[in-house]
C-alpha cells in the first residue's frame, strides 16, 4: 500500500522534472534554431546535437547510478546556462565548443530526470511520462522564442531558475533511495525472454518510433498555431501513455496505441484533427519501452534510459541522409515497421502486462 507521503514525493518529483525538462529543451532548441539560421550549420548542427545529446546518456546514466551523490542535474543546468551565454557573448573559440557544452548539459539533466522519476515512482509509469512530456512543450517554446528578438542571455538566466527545482528533486531521490532497490517494482518484461533480448528489442522499437516520428505525414501543418498544437498533442500523448499503462497495463496500452495510431496518421495527412488523434496515440508508447528496459536493469535506471535515447538517435539519423519521395512508400514503411514493433512488444512484455503484485 502506498503512503500519502510517497504519493506526494513521487508526484512532486515528476512535476519538478516536468519543469526542468521544459527549461532544458527551451534553451537547447532556442540555441539550435538560432544556430541553424546560419546556412552552413543548417544540416550539421542538428546532427551533432542529436548525436552528442542523445547517445552519451547511457554512460552518464551509469555514472549517476554508481555515484548518486553527484548533483548531475545541477551540473547540467550550469553547463547549459554557460553554453547559452557563450552563444550570446562568443567567449569560447568556435560554435562547436558551445554546442558540445550545451549537449553535455542536456545529457546531465535528462539522465537525472529519468533517475529521479523512475526511483520515485513505486514501479508506475506515469511519473516518468510526466517528466518526458515536458520536453515537447519546451521544444516548441524554444523554437518560437528563437524567432523573436529575445537576447540569448535572457534564456540562460531562465534555465538557471531550474536549479532550486533540481535540488528539491535530489531531496526526493534521497528519500526514495532509502529502499534497497527503489526500482524493483518495475517488472513488466516477459521473464522467459533473456534480458539482453528485451533490451535489444525495446531499443529497436525506439529506433523505429524515432524514424516514424519524422516520417508522419503532416501536410496540414502550415501555421505557427498548428505547429504548437502538434507539439502540445505529442506532450499530452506521452503523459497519457504512462497514465493509461498504470490503469490498464503496459501490454494493452502498447497494442491499443500502436493499432489505433496507424489509420488516424494515414487518413490525417490533410485533416488536422484526425492527424492529432493519431499523433497522440503514437506518442503513448514512449514510456512503455523505457519501463521494459528498466525492468531488466532495475539497479541502473540511468543506464536503462540511455538505451532509449541512443535508440532515438539511431532512428532519426537516417533522416539526415535518406528520405522517401512518395507518400505511398512512406506510409507502407510506417505500416510495416508498426507491425514489427507490435510483434516485438507482444513478445517481450508480461502476459498480464502489470507489475508483479508480490513485490
Amino acid at each position: 500500500m502506498r503512503s500519502g507521503k510517497s504519493i506526494t514525493r513521487n508526484l512532486g518529483a515528476a512535476w519538478l522534472y516536468f519543469y526542468i525538462h521544459f527549461a532544458t529543451e527551451v534553451i537547447c532548441f532556442f540555441s539550435l534554431t538560432r544556430l541553424t539560421g546560419d546556412s552552413v550549420w543548417l544540416w550539421v548542427a542538428p546532427f551533432v546535437y542529436d548525436a552528442l545529446a542523445f547517445v552519451p546518456q547511457g554512460i552518464v546514466g551509469r555514472i549517476s547510478d554508481r555515484f548518486p551523490k553527484i548533483p548531475v542535474s545541477v551540473i547540467g543546468i550550469i553547463l547549459m546556462a554557460l553554453a547559452g551565454a557563450d552563444f550570446a557573448l562568443g567567449i569560447l573559440p568556435g560554435k562547436y565548443t558551445a554546442l558540445v557544452i550545451l549537449c553535455l548539459g542536456n545529457v546531465c539533466t535528462h539522465v537525472n530526470g529519468a533517475e529521479v522519476t523512475l526511483r520515485c515512482s513505486d514501479g508506475r509509469l506515469s511519473h516518468s511520462a510526466i517528466f518526458v512530456s515536458g520536453g515537447s512543450f519546451g521544444v516548441i517554446t524554444g523554437r518560437l522564442l528563437a524567432d523573436t528578438f529575445l537576447p540569448a542571455w535572457v534564456v540562460s538566466l531562465f534555465v538557471l531558475t531550474a536549479i532550486p527545482f533540481a535540488l528539491l528533486a535530489e531531496y526526493y531521490r534521497k528519500d526514495a533511495d532509502k529502499l534497497e532497490n527503489p526500482c524493483e517494482k518495475f517488472n513488466y518484461n516477459n521473464p522467459k525472454i533473456p534480458a539482453g533480448i528485451v533490451i535489444l528489442t525495446a531499443t529497436l522499437i525506439v529506433i523505429v518510433r524515432g524514424y516514424m516520428g519524422y516520417g508522419i505525414p503532416t501536410s496540414w501543418k502550415k501555421t505557427v498555431f498548428q505547429t504548437v498544437l502538434l507539439y502540445v498533442t505529442m506532450g499530452c500523448g506521452k503523459a497519457l501513455g504512462g497514465v493509461f499503462a498504470d490503469l490498464f497495463g503496459v501490454r494493452k496500452t502498447a497494442v491499443f496505441s500502436m493499432v489505433c495510431a496507424l489509420p488516424f496518421l494515414f487518413a490525417g495527412d490533410n485533416i488536422m484533427a484526425v492527424s492529432l488523434i493519431g499523433v497522440m496515440f503514437f506518442s503513448m508508447t514512449m514510456s512503455i519501452t523505457l519501463a521494459l528496459i528498466v525492468s531488466v536493469l532495475q539497479k541502473s535506471p540511468g543506464l536503462a534510459f540511455g538505451f532509449t535515447t541512443t535508440g532515438l538517435f539511431l532512428g532519426t539519423a537516417p533522416i539526415f541522409f535518406f528520405k522517401f519521395t512518395t507518400a505511398f512508400a512512406n506510409c507502407a514503411v510506417i505500416a510495416i515497421l508498426t507491425v514489427l514493433c507490435l510483434a516485438g512488444v507482444l513478445i517481450i512484455t508480461r502476459k498480464d502486462g502489470k507489475k508483479n503484485e508480490q513485490l
Binding site: 550539421v44 546532427f47 551533432v48 548525436a51 552528442l52 547517445v55 552519451p56 547511457g58 554512460i59 551509469r62 562547436y96 534480458a195 539482453g196 533490451i199 531488466v296 536493469l297 532495475q298 539497479k299 541502473s300 543506464l303 540511455g306 538505451f307 541512443t310 538517435f313 539526415f320 541522409f321 535518406f322
Partner: protein, 56 residues
C-alpha cells in the same frame, strides 16, 4: 542511376565530411561502452539471483 549508385553518391560522397565522421566514430564507441556496461549489469544481476536461489 541504380539504387546502389544512389546510396554511394548521396551518402558517402555528399554527406560524409570530417565532423560527421568524427561524430559517427564517437557514437559507435559510446554504444559499445554502454552495451558492455549493460552486459556486466545483467551478468551481475543473474549471479545475485542464482546465489539467492542457492541460499533458499
Amino acid at each position: 542511376m541504380n539504387s546502389f549508385e544512389f546510396i554511394i553518391d548521396s551518402f558517402f560522397l555528399r554527406h560524409i565530411s570530417a565532423p560527421i565522421a568524427v561524430i559517427s566514430a564517437i557514437v559507435v564507441l559510446i554504444i559499445i561502452i554502454t552495451s558492455v556496461a549493460a552486459a556486466k549489469e545483467i551478468k551481475k544481476n543473474k549471479t545475485e539471483k542464482d546465489g539467492g536461489a542457492r541460499d533458499v
